[in-house]
Symmetry: C2
Subunit: 300 residues, 2 copies
Amino acid sequence: MSLLVIGTVAYDSIESPYGNAPDTLGGSGTYFASSASFYTPTQVVGVVGADFDLQELDYLRAQGVDFEGLEVDADGKTFRWGGKYMEDVNQRETLFTDLNVLETFSPKLPESYRQTDIVFLANFAPQLQSQVLDQLSAPKFVVMDTMNLWIDIAMDDVKAVLKRVDGVIVNDEETRMLSGELNLVAGAKKLLEMGPRLVICKKGEHGAFLLSKDDFFSIPAYPTTAVKDPTGAGDSFAGGMMGYIAATGNSDFATVKTGLAHGSAAASFCVEEFGVGRFKTIDKAAIESRVEKIRGYTAF
Amino acid sequence: MSLLVIGTVAYDSIESPYGNAPDTLGGSGTYFASSASFYTPTQVVGVVGADFDLQELDYLRAQGVDFEGLEVDADGKTFRWGGKYMEDVNQRETLFTDLNVLETFSPKLPESYRQTDIVFLANFAPQLQSQVLDQLSAPKFVVMDTMNLWIDIAMDDVKAVLKRVDGVIVNDEETRMLSGELNLVAGAKKLLEMGPRLVICKKGEHGAFLLSKDDFFSIPAYPTTAVKDPTGAGDSFAGGMMGYIAATGNSDFATVKTGLAHGSAAASFCVEEFGVGRFKTIDKAAIESRVEKIRGYTAF
């Protein structure tokens, strides 16, 4: 089935104990497409500025990513984010966030995107997530992401999107903020009452879990010790998961479970290099090999 | 095979958002035996004071727990610990620690304990853990626990015990302290270099993992949302794991993996009531039922 992501295409400046990567290709849409496109052609909706080097996306075009929905705003500059990871790479500090072209962005889906079946709304202003849903004719499976900022300043809009999606993917902090519950499983249960039939809770090095009304599934993080740059791990996780679901063509609980395993494997590659570097050195078989290892690591 | 634990038998005073439990039966040896004795008769080495009501252990005697190794120090008072859990029950504050009889305790194993095959050294001064090992003739599988205090003040003694055991069971903080590594898997790898062939890393609500030189295994926490009192969860985990291993009679990687699942299930019951209360309301079949649920929650 066809797959669409609305997300950012950005330049990140990253500092970590393992080195620095200034002005490196990043953004939720980029990371998502980097892993999803191993599974299925992926359509990207987003915006960049006049300063963006479109050739940086060639590795994705070669993998079947469709950038017809990527607007180039000739009057603006590309979204830029700077972050610094501590010696414990689970800790990070945001150094700057320059929204630039995102300040005035209003997503318009190309005609060819409107019939798309599987949709991922990466972390974005919830009003824009709604605008994307308005332009889709009949998506079969929609998953949304969000972040603490929107939960703080636009909770009602976040709740409105929650009512329109099949699944929500959130990290532990967001689960607690959205639900008001400290226990993550109790929090995820509350999120189910807010609309989606599936909640995916990401826990970084501790993996992720999937909850529906009747079922539960837990997946560990692949135990890589070569973590250099966690930027984009969550979006790569979502890309592997949604790519697998789109390629499989259904979204029942068993398929989404296996999707989480593919997401976990994809995310484990992401963190092993700065930016999207690691995705340029692997293929789908490499991800599948880690999926099989995870299967072994969890079977008893 | 026969199973022995050296651990504390104590009175705990617990405060949590779900209520208070003053002077309630606790201690690492008690929690360990509470879950291990569902699988196999368990021998307890420890000490209590003249103030201890031995009838409190009747529920364990009825389950085949052997207290010949539990010394009653007529001149002393029982070890007492007080703790307060925050609204996020993963956070706790120690209110007091009264060592009492533990200050002068020197473990002496009854003759009938010296041939024991499977041994758990619960968190205890490492010098005393060594004394126990000195009195065993030829144990087949020994696992040790420890805590931040001993790593801080008696690291050399902890290292000496590490060299003599088959496995070490530590939480995330202890893994980082003992190894000097922030990444838990990298830390566990370092612990393998310090002696044991197996490292079990407990991560509370995120479950646990098991690492050997050649293999890895991850188990989630059973997703209970009814957490009232996390005291003793780690020792109940160890009890379920070691009880299963002793009952099975071998300690290969596959058996220990399944042992972790039993530990996870046992720990999930422990936290659902204050003290050891929940253990008095369940049977082995209840634990096994959760083990099978965990199997379903991790298979894809």
